[in-house]
């Protein structure tokens, strides 16, 4: 394996052997997709149409696709390691410089803050709404990151907590007229309780088993919401949920959208702030230790049960808050908003961004939500593109867009030694 990869040079990819491989793949795909791409039954005239030109497209696409894919793979395999590491360090240093040096960090943050503040005033309400959705997914991503990125537990029912948040606001408001601002902590609290309820039965499960049970949990919550008409009004959902207010001021629709945008910004900043604190705390380290090696972390005196409970319930808190905001933004919720696909979406954001990486998850959430909105033309292929993107990420950048970095500590002796 290793001597093969050292033999391959980028130029050798023009060789007959490599071209032949791609050719075979292309032909194979052409045959494979023949029934769905080429043969078409015209039901009106009862004739069979043969779209041979499509076969040519498939062939060309797969030929160059597979060739490029293997080229990239090989380059990754043999890429001159030391030089690559160096360039990577340089690239990382850019973010490091932006974030760590005070003279640079302060202006960066100020510029970012100005951009964030100005955004709703220079863009349309439609764009602000999309941005609110993206911000909501940032919160969901960061919340799920506690369970998956730090705790290492594959949680596929996360969206259930989002539903708990949304429904707690909608129902409390419907029955008792509870306001948005009161519902926010209540929704978060109820979600946390649901998090604990879920965590108790899954304390002993790991990996695939945990994934299956959490998946089931998410579906159970949705199905209950769908069928318990007296409680949740079933599939028809709850309408006329009030938007958030502020001292009884009468907002116009664009104004209230801007207001929600700033609430979301506040929540995101609050979340990031807490995540950074959690990450490098006794609790955060215990989560990461559990992710790295459960047996060893038990031997280090970490109470795994408590650890899992805190991870699940704290993770749920953010989904609950995001859910309350979601309900107030759309003013209408029904169970269809809380399907397994939403869980998968949030999971993709965490994986794409980089497990445990706050910046990565923010970027991934923006990409995953904003890109499809601005590439409406591709909306049909959205899932296909996501799938491809995730596979490519796993192969070429398994750590995510911005892989998580461990905190570096400095000690007087060390510095003296380096200088």
């Amino acid at each position: 394996m290793s001597n093969v990869s050292t033999e391959i040079k980028p130029t050798s990819f023009l060789s007959f052997k490599e071209l032949k491989k791609s050719l075979f793949t292309a032909v194979w795909f052409m045959i494979l997709t023949l029934p769905i791409m080429v043969i078409k039954v015209n039901t009106i005239e009862n004739t069979v149409e043969w779209h041979w030109n499509r076969m040519v497209f498939v062939g060309l696409l797969i030929f160059f696709g597979s060739w490029g894919w293997r080229y990239l793979l090989a380059r990754r395999e043999m890429g001159p390691r030391p030089r690559k590491a160096e360039s990577e360090r340089k690239r990382f240093n850019l973010t490091a410089i932006l974030m760590e040096r005070k003279q640079v960090r302060t202006p960066t943050i100020i510029i970012l803050a100005v951009m964030v503040i100005v955004f709703p005033f220079i863009s349309s309400m439609y764009q602000t709404n999309i941005m609110i959705t993206a911000l909501n997914y940032i919160i969901l991503g960061l919340g799920l990151n506690i369970v998956i990125g730090l705790g290492g537990m594959l949680h596929l029912g996360y969206i259930a907590f989002y539903a708990v948040g949304a429904y707690s606001y909608a129902l409390l408001n419907y029955h008792f007229g509870v306001s948005f601002w009161l519902a926010l902590p209540i929704g978060a609290g109820l979600s946390a309780i649901f998090g604990i309820l879920l965590a108790i039965p899954v304390l002993r499960l790991r990996g695939d088993y945990l994934a299956i049970v959490t998946l089931g949990f998410g579906e159970i919550v949705r199905i209950i919401l769908e069928n318990w008409n007296d409680f949740s009004f079933g599939p028809s959902g709850i309408a006329n949920i009030p938007r958030p207010g502020l001292f009884g001021i009468d907002f116009s629709l664009p104004q209230v959208t801007t207001f929600i945008y700033f609430i979301m910004i506040g929540l995101v900043v609050f979340t990031i702030f807490l995540m950074i604190r959690l990450e490098n705390s006794r609790l955060g380290r215990a989560w990461v230790a559990m992710r790295e090696d459960e047996v060893a972390s038990r031997a280090m005196g970490i109470d795994i049960r408590k650890n899992k409970l805190t991870a699940f319930s704290l993770g749920a808190v953010w989904a609950g808050m995001a859910g309350v905001v979601f309900a107030s933004k759309t003013t209408f919720i029904n169970p269809a908003s809380f399907t397994i696909w939403e869980s998968v979406m949030v999971l993709s954001i965490v994986v794409l961004g980089g497990m445990g990486s706050i910046i990565g998850i923010i970027i991934a959430a923006l990409i995953m939500i904003l890109l499809p909105e601005y590439l409406r033309a591709f909306s049909e292929f959205r899932m296909l593109l996501f799938g491809f993107l995730l596979v490519a990420m796993m192969v070429f950048r398994p750590g995510g867009l911005v892989p998580a970095k461990r905190k570096v500590y400095t000690f007087p002796q060390e510095e003296a030694g380096n200088e």
Binding site: R282, D293, A296
Partner: protein
Amino acid sequence: MSESNCILDTRALTMDFGGLRAVDAMNLKVCEGEIVALIGPNGAGKTTFFNCVTGMLKPSLGTIVITMPDGQEKEIQGKRPNVVTNYGLARTFQNIRLFQNLTVLENVMIGRHTRMKAGILGAVLRNKATKEEEERVIYESYEYLKKLHLEQHVNELAKNLPYGAQRRLEIARAMATEPFLLLLDEPAAGMNPQETRELDNLIVKIRDTEKITILLIEHDMNLVMSLSERIYVMDYGKLIAQGTPEEIKHHPEVIKAYLGEEVDA
């Protein structure tokens, strides 16, 4: 070895895996300040014995009594590992189990977990007490690294360390839990002779300066003979001999067990 200062005392400790009796009525005592070795052919049940003592496994029969430094006696069989660690027993693993993607310092900081207090609120509010605790733990962890000559690796990821250093990091991490009894499972496995000699000195130093009693499983007979004051020998889950290194060397049962293994191999 006097009865009064025994800090670990297992009585008829037995562990069954289905039909297999991996540990069979083991009686083993460790006294304060000793270095005791537990030896035996592969598959004798040594690691399983450690797992029972440290709470990783719930023994089928028997009792494990520890005497804490304050004189308090406790039965710990079946207690969860984090509880046992909290009492003051720490261990390393035969197949290294570091937190691979964390830095060397963070590995040791996690070892400090039981000796820290901060909870969720502390982490979120980061009040004065939490901040001070955090700073103290960083400092203490660095001190543990220095004791095991790992300070030059402080910010490296654990998985990138050379093998010998990984073994030492496991010891540092275990020491960070402030044990009174340290259980080492084959600490010299995979080390070269030079590293093994250094380890020998380190273990003695840990016992002498840190006042930590040591129970170790080891295959390297030179290390065992030079290091330990008493030796227990296991074969097929049973205790077949115990005594000083001199006695063990000439014990007929031990010679038979080890010769038997060589014939098998």
